[in-house]
Subunit: 214 residues, 2 copies
Amino acid sequence: MPKDTFFNLEEEKKEKVMRAAINEFLLHGYENGNIGTVAKNAGVAKGSMYQYFESKKELFLFCVKWSTELMIRKYGKHLTRSERHINVFEYMYENSKEMWTQLKEERELVIFLQNVFLGKYSSVKDESMEFMIRMIDQQVLKMIREGKENGYIRKDIDDSILAIFMTGVSMRFKEYLMNKARSAGEDIVDEDFSQFEKEVKGISELLRNGMGEK
Amino acid sequence: MPKDTFFNLEEEKKEKVMRAAINEFLLHGYENGNIGTVAKNAGVAKGSMYQYFESKKELFLFCVKWSTELMIRKYGKHLTRSERHINVFEYMYENSKEMWTQLKEERELVIFLQNVFLGKYSSVKDESMEFMIRMIDQQVLKMIREGKENGYIRKDIDDSILAIFMTGVSMRFKEYLMNKARSAGEDIVDEDFSQFEKEVKGISELLRNGMGEK
DNA sequence: GAGTCATATGACTTGTGAGTCATATTACTT
DNA sequence: AAGTAATATGACTCACAAGTCATATGACTC
């Protein structure tokens, strides 16, 4: 946890520091991320960084916490809505569309959190990250159980296998979207999500009915 | 490329050096991987490492090359066999089973290469890695095209989407197997692959027919 | 056994960047 | 306005590990 000094800062400054840090870690990774650069980009002296945080590691871990909380604060309504009774096959669509919006508005944060999730920065892993990953697993499992109960998911295959199947596809597709956004720079994100409509539909269809010829 | 001095070494010593390096990078990542430790574990002086390699980066990149080539040399027959006319749905089974054997015999190398593939070590990415990744993509696309021609893959969905779907599932499952092996240490790898028979069958079935209730 | 390569060695140099600290600045209180 | 507490600053320390190099060892030739 950061020191009191950090929490006493005005909101705007806190945000500037955090975004500078996240951007630095995003660009150079944890080991090569430079606190001096973070300070400079946040318009703050290097020494101040150590009035705010105990160490580089603490700063990094708080980046994860801060991003996660910001994303939940900003997009949380959707998350809780989808937790209710959404069809697994619509999940992919909803999820991808949501991510596209987030990518437009919070590019760095989304990519940073994806990296965390994918296990880059593995040298700073801590329990909270494991927790975050388990949370998502849990949510998928819940959806699968509900799907079975409501009769739109086949019951002859184990939940855990269905979960691996689903998360595999959904993560890979998410990555695909992200790479499109990442490699094309800022501009492509301005485009409409509708261009992916067909692709998402294809993936959902495959999830539902598989690749086998009828 | 390593220096001549390295290539003049007797095979056994070369291997000892490479395995020590791979193990070090596996344990501590690229940035925190220590050349001194590599040297010590290989039974060689630190200075010698610099008679063999220009820099740490060169050593790392050669680890990737060396592992890949060793794996191809050792298991390549299977790879070329599966390139011929294997059914996509059997691919998963063959592939997982193969990986289980490899995991038994070449634990460190398999996990190291998987990490490379998953984009950890992103600070040392070079063209050869991108190449390796594109190769695998290509292979999957080829299988899909053949599957469509031979009438066992549906034709109403784009190849690229089918590829994302397939690689997503197969990579996620591979990771699942790997984690089982990784977390349980050396011992679990001794067990027979047959324990996963049911799970692999489940995944293949899902690939073919999807999760939707009939 | 003298002379000439090729290789091995580990103490040393050096760049780097995390973390410190004495001092300056600002903010708040009476 | 004086006094005190909180925060800001950037030059400095210092540990670490990549990379160097002078010297030692060995291998091979005549």
